[in-house]
Every structure is written in structure tokens, then in C-alpha cells.
């Protein structure tokens, strides 16, 4: 079987594509230069008193840029659609595009539903008014769908992400699988890595690790940061001084040193990460408990069953999360007995999770504290105080909702930052085991042969780059839209 080229039978289209992209770059450069020159558009007053202005030179260039951009976009779409139709006939891109078909469908459904109902969806709907936000959201959702479909349901992947195939070591993208049988996928789409595993399948499996850990770790970091930051900002005084000192202490640590100190096997043996997990993961419980209690404590008949129900479920999740095989800390602290234990988290994942939450929460703390300091001087807080509301009610139901704009934006940015941190951990081979398909570990494995076989490291690097870029663009779009409120 022939090795696949990048675009297969569509290669004639490549020249047109290069040409359009080249023109696009040129026209963007010209329009930037033109924007430096003051525009001299002419204005004419017509007989009925209206003004008419032509768009001038820069307007003309902008129009051309717009059309070129649309043309390039259309060509990309042609590649994708032709790929879906022709499969591997359209080269590596075509085969990948067909492999990702479920993701495309999910994306189209998400976008069409969201755009149809965007006026009813609050801030989320407003996101679809900004191009940047939509692009970012599209990229992020692409990886989320890829992670869920590939990681949970085993769709999309072409080969097993761990099995090694003889003769495929360091093979270039598009190499046909040696000794392939009828049921097998016939190519290694993105080549093989230095252990002869399929880079494409590992890429997809790796996205699940990120999609799973990064948002959850960020949520936990926010819970810790909010639960400690609100009282620090609201009460001030000694509590604030103490907590701020602690936060600054953690922030003064170089992140990598902290990772090296927390995530080595020897430290894991002492159980310190497990103790930290017990401490850090209890914050969502505290947060939800206080949140509901402060709101409903005047109606005990509603409050008590509500709290018992919610805290019961959360408590069970919490205990399942921290305990493995009946212990919360191996051989030291008892946890949930095994028959009640809902699920087990892999030890390496737990350690990585704890480290990332620990590094992120002080920054969230500082942001929340700053926002609380600012908002507590507002009139509606004074009004609530006059009404006789309790301090926690004011913090959680008056201050927090009014700080949501900056917090949501920071949340998106922080998921991106967490992704970078996860990659850093993988890059230094800390935490997750070495055959883990996550992007950082894969880059680490691929960098040794970087000068000779770059494809094994480049693929996860570009994937990580696109996900973080998508999150940044999404945050930018959200910021723009939330400022417009």
C-alpha cells in the first residue's frame, strides 16, 4: 500500500490554497500599513442633505482582506468536506477529517442550537455575537468533544493507544500499517512514535486526560479561592493578613520547584498528597453548605432536608474521591470502606490534580479578595447590612454574583493555564506514568529525537497550543461581551 500524502488527490487545490493564504497575509500587512497613514476619505453632501462618504483606500483594502479571509475559510471547508466524503483518498487531512466526523456533527449541532436560541441564553448566548469568542469556543468544544468521544466511548481512534506495532517505529505520517489485516485501519495517520505506537490515537486519548483534569482542577481551585478569599476581603484585619501571607508564600515558590517537591515518588510514599487532597477537596462541601445555609436558614423546614440531601451526595463523592481501597491515606487514615467507594482515582492522576489545585488556588484567592474589597463598599452591600443579613449571605449572595464577570473570564484563562501546567508536569515526567498519552508526557518522550523525527512531539505540541489559544480567545470574547453589559 502507498504511503498517504498530506492532501492526497486534492493536491492540485494546494496551489490555490497557498496563493490565497499568501494574498491574505499580504493584504493584512498592507492594511496595517495603510492604517498608519491618516485616511483621506472624501465626503459629499447630496441634494437631500444626507452625507455620503466612500470608504477610501483603507476601506477598499479591508474589503479585499475580508473576501480573501472568506475564500481561505471556504478552501479549508472544501478540504474537510472532501475528506469526509473521500476519506483517505484526500490524504492524511482527509482521513483525519473523516475520523473526526462525529466531532464535526456535534460541533454543528451545538453551534446551530446555540445560535438559534442565543437571545435566551444570557452571557453564553452573547458569546455568539463576537467572532473571536465564537472561534475560541469552537476550538475548545472541538477538543472537549474529541476528549469525551475518544476517551470515554473509544470512537475516533484508529489504533490502540498503548499497543506497539512492529516495524512502525518513528515512521513518518501517513505510513501504511505493516501487516495490516482487513479490519484494521490501514495507516498510521500521524506516524509512529519511538515505541512504535500510533501518534494520532495517542493524541486523541491524551485530549481526554486534559479535558478531564484541567476544568475540574480549576473548579476546585476556584472553590478554595472563593471560600477563603471572600472572608479575607470582606472582614479584612488579621484574617486577611494571615491568609494573604500564606497565599504570597505559595506564590513566591517557583512552580516547578514546588512540583518537584510534591510529585516525586518518595513524597507520594509519605502520603502528603493524600493529606492535601483531604484538605483541598473539602472546600466545595464547605462552599455549597454555607451557600445553601445562608440563603435558607430562615426556613428550617426547607433548609434541613435540602442540606442533608445535597451534602450527603457531595460527601459521598468527596469520600469516594479521596479514598482508595478503604484508606484515605494509604495504611494510615481510614477512608470509605470499599463496598461504598463509588470510584477510584488513579494515584498519579490524584497527585497531579492536587498539585495543580494547590498552585492555582492562591492566585484565585488574590483575585476574589481584590474583588470583594472593591464590591463591599457598594450601596447594595450597605443595604443588605441594614436589612440585617448575615455576613455569609452578603458575601455569597450579594458580592459573589456581582463579581461573576471577571471571575468567568479568569476561569477560562485559568483552564488554559492549568493545561499548560499539566503539560509542564508531563514535560518533566512527573506524576503521570510514562506511557500515559497526555500531551506533556508525549512531548517529553518525543523531544529526545526531535531533530530527526519531530512529528511525534509536534502533534501534541500543536494540539496543546490550539486548546490553550482557544481558551484565551474564548476568555477574550467573554470579556468583551461582559463589558458590554
Amino acid at each position: 500500500m502507498e504511503p498517504l500524502t498530506w492532501t492526497g488527490s486534492l493536491s492540485g487545490l494546494n496551489y490555490i490554497f497557498y496563493f490565497v493564504v499568501g494574498l491574505l497575509i499580504l493584504s493584512i500587512a498592507i492594511s496595517i500599513l495603510a492604517s498608519l497613514v491618516p485616511s483621506t476619505d472624501s465626503r459629499a453632501v447630496s441634494a437631500d442633505g444626507t452625507l455620503a462618504a466612500d470608504k477610501g483606500v483603507s476601506g477598499f483594502i479591508n474589503m479585499i482582506t475580508g473576501y480573501l479571509f472568506l475564500a481561505a475559510l471556504a478552501l479549508v471547508l472544501v478540504y474537510l468536506i472532501a475528506g469526509i466524503v473521500m476519506g483517505s483518498g484526500a490524504g492524511i487531512f482527509g482521513a483525519m477529517s473523516r475520523q473526526f466526523l462525529p466531532v464535526w456533527i456535534a460541533l454543528i449541532v451545538t453551534f446551530s442550537v446555540s445560535i438559534t436560541y442565543k437571545r435566551k441564553l444570557g452571557l453564553y448566548g452573547k458569546l455568539f455575537d463576537s467572532t473571536v469568542g465564537m472561534i475560541g469556543f469552537g476550538i475548545v468544544m472541538f477538543w472537549v468533544f474529541t476528549g469525551i468521544m475518544g476517551g470515554v466511548f473509544d470512537m475516533l481512534v484508529t489504533h490502540d493507544s498503548l499497543s506497539q506495532t512492529s516495524g512502525m517505529k518513528n515512521k513518518l505520517p501517513g505510513t501504511p500499517l505493516r501487516g495490516a489485516e482487513d479490519g484494521d485501519f490501514q495507516w498510521f495517520l500521524l506516524g509512529g512514535d519511538n515505541l512504535a505506537r500510533d501518534v494520532f490515537s495517542r493524541l486523541i486519548k491524551g485530549s481526554w486526560v486534559v479535558v478531564q483534569i484541567a476544568p475540574m482542577a480549576t473548579i476546585f481551585a476556584f472553590m478554595v479561592g472563593i471560600t477563603l478569599g471572600l472572608p479575607a476581603g470582606y472582614y479584612g484585619g488579621k484574617l486577611d493578613t494571615g491568609l494573604s501571607f500564606l497565599a504570597n508564600l505559595i506564590l513566591a515558590f517557583p512552580v516547578i520547584l514546588l512540583f518537584y517537591l510534591l510529585v516525586t515518588p518518595e513524597i507520594v510514599l509519605t502520603g502528603i498528597p493524600n493529606y492535601m487532597a483531604i484538605f483541598l477537596f473539602v472546600f466545595p462541601l464547605i462552599f455549597v453548605g454555607i451557600l445553601l445555609n445562608s440563603r435558607f436558614h430562615t426556613q428550617p423546614s426547607l433548609r434541613t432536608p435540602l442540606l442533608i440531601g445535597v451534602l450527603g451526595v457531595l460527601g459521598w463523592l468527596y469520600l469516594s474521591l479521596i479514598s482508595t481501597g478503604g484508606y484515605a491515606v494509604p495504611d494510615k487514615v481510614w477512608g470509605l470502606p470499599e463496598f461504598l467507594d463509588g470510584f477510584d482515582i488513579d494515584d498519579g492522576v490524584l497527585v497531579v490534580f492536587v498539585a495543580v489545585v494547590f498552585v492555582n488556588s492562591p492566585t484565585v484567592f488574590r483575585i476574589v479578595r481584590g474583588l470583594a474589597l472593591d464590591i463591599k463598599t457598594r450601596d447594595y452591600v450597605a443595604a443588605a447590612q441594614t436589612r440585617g443579613e448575615g455576613p455569609w449571605y452578603i458575601m455569597l449572595w450579594e458580592i459573589l454574583p456581582n463579581a461573576r464577570g471577571p471571575l468567568i473570564v479568569d476561569f477560562c484563562l485559568r483552564i488554559g493555564y492549568t493545561t499548560i501546567l499539566l503539560g509542564t508536569l508531563g514535560f518533566f515526567g512527573l506524576g503521570l506514568e510514562s506511557e500515559s498519552p497526555d500531551w506533556g508526557s508525549t512531548i517529553n518522550a518525543g523531544r529526545r529525537l526531535l531533530a530527526l523525527y519531530p512529528h511525534a512531539a509536534i502533534a501534541p505540541a500543536l494540539a496543546l497550543l490550539s486548546l490553550v489559544l482557544g481558551l484565551n480567545l474564548l476568555a477574550d470574547g467573554l470579556r468583551e461581551e461582559s463589558l458590554r453589559d
Partner: protein
């Protein structure tokens, strides 16, 4: 101002003490000590042998005592063996009685002995720090001017095409961690099989096989553009986006100020407005950001030095932490914590000094 600096210095010292104590505690946990004993002695040591090895070398004393000895405020441990030889923290068995010191610690300028490099910690850290200093200097020389230029150009006409392009560029750089951009740079510019180098070599435009060198090891002795530019660029790019965005925000804010409008209405040239009226005020905020960015550069330094095999301070950190070289790791953390705290102090003082509204009042 004097009291402010003194208070900040006090908090700094306290922070540094707490942090080193945490590092000390984590590196002195028993599994770490056991690993140390086994790597220093031999891997098949029995548990008793490990215990006696550690006991002889003072590792099994209570933590505060050990910390005090390391600091130099408490007398170092002394072990008398059954065969009559005496050795201690501050002297060997063959040091004459008269030369034996009681205290040797950081305060006395004695940073200890590195088990990985078999050398004095002080001199090891100093050599590596000098190498990283060279790298950092180049990074700052590249990063700060380009970030400021990008930020000022983007911020002077908010919402223009130029602003949009440059802002997208800064977002893209903040989204590219060093290990991603480094990998891409090496693959595109420093691989003999891929990217630009084979094309250029075919055309005969470059002498060697690759355009840039993928390893910066040779840059430790003599750095030139071809072996040093890629690591410098990799670190600079990631830090640049953030500074550029801050500069842009600050510049955009200044450009909407009343006095700028007055200057424009008086007919001052746009370039004069930007350079003479706006720039000075717009650079106050980025200054703090640049200073606070330096600790973050340290992360980048660790990644880039590992990736490009440049044996500087970051590489030292990885070696010390990976091999649990306790005294080296402590020295490394003291230095990096000091860098963080000193830059914070400078940024606070600089902010007050640069901002006339605070300085005069």
C-alpha cells in the same frame, strides 16, 4: 518610605525563612533520606545500615535542630565512632582539633556539599547562576523592548487593524508555553531533516547542516547568534505577550485622558503626542509587570535549559530536585525565592518612585 521598605524587608525575611523551612521539611522526609542513603552508600543496604548511616550524619535529629544547624545558629552535629574517629557537620575526621568550628551554616557562608556534583554548593550555584544570568540578560534585552513596542503600537489607536493584529499576536504568544514553542522552533529551524534547514542547505545558503543549533550547550562557553537565539526567543515569546497586553491596556487608557485630547486639539503632531505626552505615563504600569514577570521567567528558564541542554541554574534545579540533593536544592530554592521577593520589592519601590502622584504626596 524608609519605614515602608523596612517593613517590606521584614516580611521578605519571614517569607524566605518559612519557605526554606518548608523545602527543608519536604527534602528531609524519611523516604527521601532513605533514598539519599541508598544512592550515597549502596542500593542493597539493610534498614539498620540505612539508619546508622543517617544517624552518623546527623539526619535523624529533630527537624528544628537540623534547620538551625543548616542556618548556622546552632552548633553542628558531631559523631564519635567506636574506633575513636570524630567527624561532624563542620569538619572531617582528619581536621586538626584546633581548626574545628562549632557552627557552619548559611549565616557563616557555608552552603554545604552537593552529593550529585561532589562539589561545594556555593561555587556550583554561583557558576550556574552566572550562565543563567547571561541567558536572562539576553531574554530581557529581547523581550522588554519588543513587548513595549508591540504594546504601545497596539494601544495608541485602540480598535484599529494594527491593534487587532498585534493583540492577536500577544494572545497567541501567551497561549504558547515554552515547551511547545521550543519544540516547534527546533523542528522548523534546527532539524537537519525537516523545516527550513534542508531547503537552505540545498540552496547552499548555510554552511552547516542546520540553520540554528538545536542544543545550546556550546553557548555556555561562547554564545553566538546561531546557538543562543532559539532558547532566548523561546523564553521571550511566552513572557512577551503578557507585558504587551498590559502595556496596551495602559497605553489605551492614557490615550483617552483629558490632557492627550487637549494636546490633540492644540494641533500637536500625533507622533509627538505618543512619544512625548503619552509614553511616560503609559510605562508606569508595565514596569511593575516586567518586574513581576521575572520570577515567571525562572519557570521558562528551567524548561528551556532542559530542552536545549544549557547547563545553567534551571538545569541545576532539575538535577538537584531529581536526585534529592538536599543542600543543593535548599541553596537553589533560597536563590529563587530571593529573586522572587527582591523583584517584588523593586516593583513596589519603583511604582512609588515612577508615579509622581504618589511620590509627591
Amino acid at each position: 518610605m524608609g519605614i515602608f521598605i523596612l517593613r517590606r524587608l521584614g516580611v521578605m525575611l519571614l517569607t524566605a525563612l518559612c519557605l526554606t523551612f518548608i523545602v527543608f521539611w519536604l527534602t528531609n522526609l524519611y523516604p527521601n533520606l532513605e533514598k539519599l542513603a541508598k544512592t550515597q552508600g549502596n542500593f542493597r543496604m539493610s534498614d539498620e545500615a540505612v539508619t546508622s548511616y543517617l544517624d552518623d550524619r546527623g539526619y535523624l535529629q529533630p527537624l528544628p535542630v537540623k534547620f538551625g544547624q543548616w542556618l548556622g545558629v546552632m552548633p553542628g552535629w558531631v559523631t564519635e565512632k567506636e574506633d575513636g574517629t570524630t567527624f561532624g557537620r563542620c569538619f572531617d575526621a582528619d581536621t586538626p582539633e584546633a581548626d574545628r568550628r562549632t557552627r557552619c551554616g548559611v549565616i557563616q557562608g557555608d552552603w554545604g556539599f552537593s552529593t550529585v556534583f561532589k562539589d561545594e554548593v556555593g561555587s556550583t550555584v554561583a557558576t550556574r547562576l552566572a550562565l543563567t544570568g547571561k541567558l536572562m540578560l539576553c531574554v530581557l534585552l529581547l523581550m522588554v523592548p519588543s513587548a513595549l513596542i508591540v504594546g504601545v503600537l497596539a494601544g495608541m489607536r485602540e480598535g484599529s487593524k494594527l491593534d487587532r493584529s498585534l493583540s492577536t499576536f500577544s494572545i497567541a504568544t501567551t497561549a504558547t508555553p515554552e515547551y511547545v514553542s521550543g519544540v516547534i522552533f527546533i523542528a522548523v529551524l534546527a532539524s537537519s531533516k525537516f523545516g527550513l534547514s534542508p531547503i537552505l542547505a540545498d540552496l547552499g545558503w548555510i554552511d552547516g547542516k542546520t540553520l540554528f543549533l538545536g542544543s545550546a550547550t556550546s553557548a555556555m562557553k561562547d554564545a553566538n547568534f546561531w546557538n543562543f537565539f532559539l532558547p532566548v526567543l523561546t523564553i521571550s515569546l511566552y513572557g512577551m505577550g503578557y507585558i504587551a497586553r498590559m502595556t496596551r491596556a495602559s497605553m489605551a487608557e492614557v490615550m483617552t485622558a483629558q490632557y492627550i485630547r487637549t494636546a490633540r486639539l492644540k494641533g500637536v503632531k500625533f507622533s509627538d503626542i505618543v512619544l512625548k505626552h503619552a509614553l511616560r505615563n503609559a510605562l508606569i504600569a508595565p514596569f511593575t509587570v516586567i518586574m513581576l514577570q521575572i520570577p515567571w521567567l525562572l519557570n521558562g528558564v528551567v524548561i528551556v535549559e532542559t530542552l536545549f541542554n544549557y547547563k545553567g541554574f534551571g538545569w541545576l534545579l532539575v538535577q538537584a530536585a531529581g536526585n534529592n540533593d538536599i543542600e543543593l536544592l535548599l541553596a537553589v530554592s533560597v536563590v529563587s525565592v530571593a529573586v522572587v521577593l527582591v523583584t517584588q520589592l523593586i516593583s513596589d519601590i519603583g511604582y512609588v518612585y515612577l508615579n509622581p502622584r504618589i511620590r509627591i504626596s
